[in-house]
């Protein structure tokens, strides 16, 4: 503590400057932002009392099935739970992790998503419903693979690093990953930020039509946005013809990002959903273009709150990896020795030395993750979240998660009231209106 309790020059700030003085570049880490932001914990549900009656919390039927992207697609994406696994690349994750995630999604009737590196055949085999990402890098993009997908997602930005591309350190770019991406093995890969074939929203409309033509208008086209200028971006994506819009907030996860982007760009999930909802409402496309929220979704309450604010579904990344054993002290691991941090604190995904076999390509470390056991854990977690979601929905007197609405919520802080556009608890006042 060289500067006492100084707020500006806190110990981690001093350490940060020392590190950069040694390093001569920005720092890199995984997981998500360290910023304290308004999140779902700042909202609470106003469950039933005398004004309305509840459904039996543990037993009565509650629909959790949702349909996404039905605006133009012949075959919309139908999910048994409004929670799916977000795009994470084979490369950032091991093949075992990707396979486990796909299998888990299939076990609970939901979807998984490819990532910045193309489709892993084992992932396709494991996934009943696979969303195929089209990213600026186009690594591994194969129209033959895309033709097998249940949905296509054009990635414009990522919440963890909006305005820039992905990153994969050379230690993870081993031969197979390099071949799949057409890259020299061992390079520190920094993906492009812009798509190679289109730039603005007018071009995007033509790109969306191209992907529809390539897939015979059968599957939904999603557009994924890093949550920044949400209202305008959502309107432009919808006008360009997106069937679904994924809003990925500043608390969303990553396997590697410059710290400065993680902590200093984007907006949190709660206001991102509200801004997107209002933008769609303004152009008459709310509940027609599906809205998918991602970033910091940890449990059924987060999902329920996201749906109440206006999302049609949520995508999870970090939570699924934690279910897979991320940051868990398993018998084969020694976090302190192997990654230099205790289990529970690790955000060193970018080093490729993941002690639990998830964020690594090392053949020995990969063995620490059994894809079948991992799939069981993630499926259990997805089922738990879905049960929590249904439990909360019934407690609000509703038999369908699609009936959740902003009126079901109150804010615990003034900031949350302003961002969620719901009243502050104990008042009738919605701040910022």
């Amino acid at each position: 503590m060289v500067m006492g309790n100084n707020q500006i020059w806190a110990s981690w700030t001093v350490d940060d400057i020392h590190s950069k003085a040694d390093l001569g570049r920005y720092r890199i880490r995984g997981i998500s932002t360290h910023q304290r932001v308004t999140h779902f914990d700042d909202l609470t549900f106003l469950s039933t009392g005398l004004t309305r009656f509840p459904l039996e919390g543990y037993k009565e039927q509650c629909n959790t099935r949702v349909e996404l992207g039905g605006l133009n697609a012949t075959n919309p994406l139908v999910l048994d739970t409004p929670i799916y696994i977000t795009g994470m690349s084979w490369g950032a994750l091991s093949a075992n992790a990707k396979t486990a995630l796909g299998k888990a999604a299939s076990m609970v009737g939901t979807a998984s998503c490819t990532g910045d590196g193309g489709m892993l055949p084992a992932e396709r085999e494991a996934s009943d419903k696979l969303i195929y990402q089209v990213l600026p890098s186009r690594y591994g993009l194969n129209p033959n693979h895309m033709a097998t997908a249940e949905a296509i997602e054009i990635v414009v930005g990522q919440g963890a690093k909006p305005g820039t591309g992905g990153m994969l350190m050379g230690v993870k770019v081993l031969d197979e990953v390099a071949e799949s991406r057409d890259l020299p093995p061992g390079i520190d890969q920094r993906s492009p930020a812009r798509h190679p074939d289109w730039l603005g929203p007018d071009d995007l409309a033509i790109k969306i039509e191209q992907l529809r033509e390539a897939t015979d208008w059968a599957v939904p086209i999603h557009v994924k946005l890093g949550a920044c200028r949400v209202a305008d971006d959502v309107k432009l994506a919808a006008k360009a013809g997106a069937d679904a819009i994924v809003i990925d907030s500043m608390v969303a996860g990553t396997g590697a990002s410059a710290e400065i982007l993680l902590d200093h760009s984007g907006i949190p999930t709660v206001p991102a959903i509200v801004l997107a909802r209002e933008a769609l409402r303004e152009i008459g496309l709310y509940r027609k273009v599906s809205l998918i929220a991602s970033g910091g979704i940890r449990n059924g309450a987060d999902v329920a709150k996201a749906l109440a604010l206006g999302a049609d579904a949520c995508a999870i990344g970090v939570a699924a990896l934690i279910a897979l054993n991320c940051n868990r002290d398993i018998p084969e691991s020694n976090f302190e020795e192997e990654i230099g941090m205790p289990a529970g604190s690790c955000n060193r995904c970018h080093t490729g030395r993941c002690p639990v076999g998830i964020a690594t390509q090392d053949p020995e470390l990969v063995k620490r993750l059994d894809p079948d056991e991992g799939a069981d854990r993630v499926a259990n977690f997805l089922n738990s979240m879905t049960m929590e979601l249904a439990l909360l929905t019934r407690s609000l007197g509703k038999g369908d998660v699609r009936s959740l609405e902003p009126e079901d919520l109150a804010a615990l802080t003034i900031e949350a009231s302003a961002m969620a556009q719901v009243p502050l608890v104990g008042t009738n006042k919605v701040f910022g209106m």
Binding site: N144, P184, I206, T351
Partner: protein, 228 residues
Amino acid sequence: MVSLDASEFTTRELNKRIKEIVDDAGSDIVISSPSARHNLVVGIQKECKIAIEGSVGYYAASQLDGPEISIEGNAGWALGENLMSGKIALSRNAGASVGASMRGGEMFIGGNAGARAGISMKGGTLLVAGDSGFLTGFMMQKGRIIVCGDIGDAAGDSMYEGTIYVGGDVGTLGADAKFDEPTEDELIELWAELEAHGINKRPKFRKIVSQKKLYHYDTLERLERTLI
């Protein structure tokens, strides 16, 4: 051979009809009156021959794996985007991003190519008889771009691997790109390729390749050094 008058179909109807013909009969197809429409001949993953008589818009002959396409006219942006295999020949000029992220096959542009020709290219050959624009070969990963004429600024910016051959002048080189000299055997091979496309010039090509200085971060953090 099947003739299709594009003016009688919507884009959806035309692409669907083309796929049906390719799937069922495998006949050669001639498309007339394309009227520079976007997204013509998209997403075909079979060997076939298609001739387009006229100019096309954005994304013509894109997302293909196997077909042989000839276009008599000009093309808008992203002609041949993500070509996996097959051949595309354009008689006149191509707009921006021709051959974007192509992974294989051969493309021939009879006129000039716009900005970002061969951007994110991952394989195959893009041959431009005339000039090409700004950021040609941007972030190129593999394959060959052959430009008989001049290239604009930032040529080969941030390219990983692959080679750009240029017969004329270059505005500026992009980040991490450098000039190199082709071997005599390379030149003979290039000239033979030009001749096969009816180009009788023998430009004294120069090569643009990656300096490979941006392959790695120069430094690692203390903890990273022990792990990576």
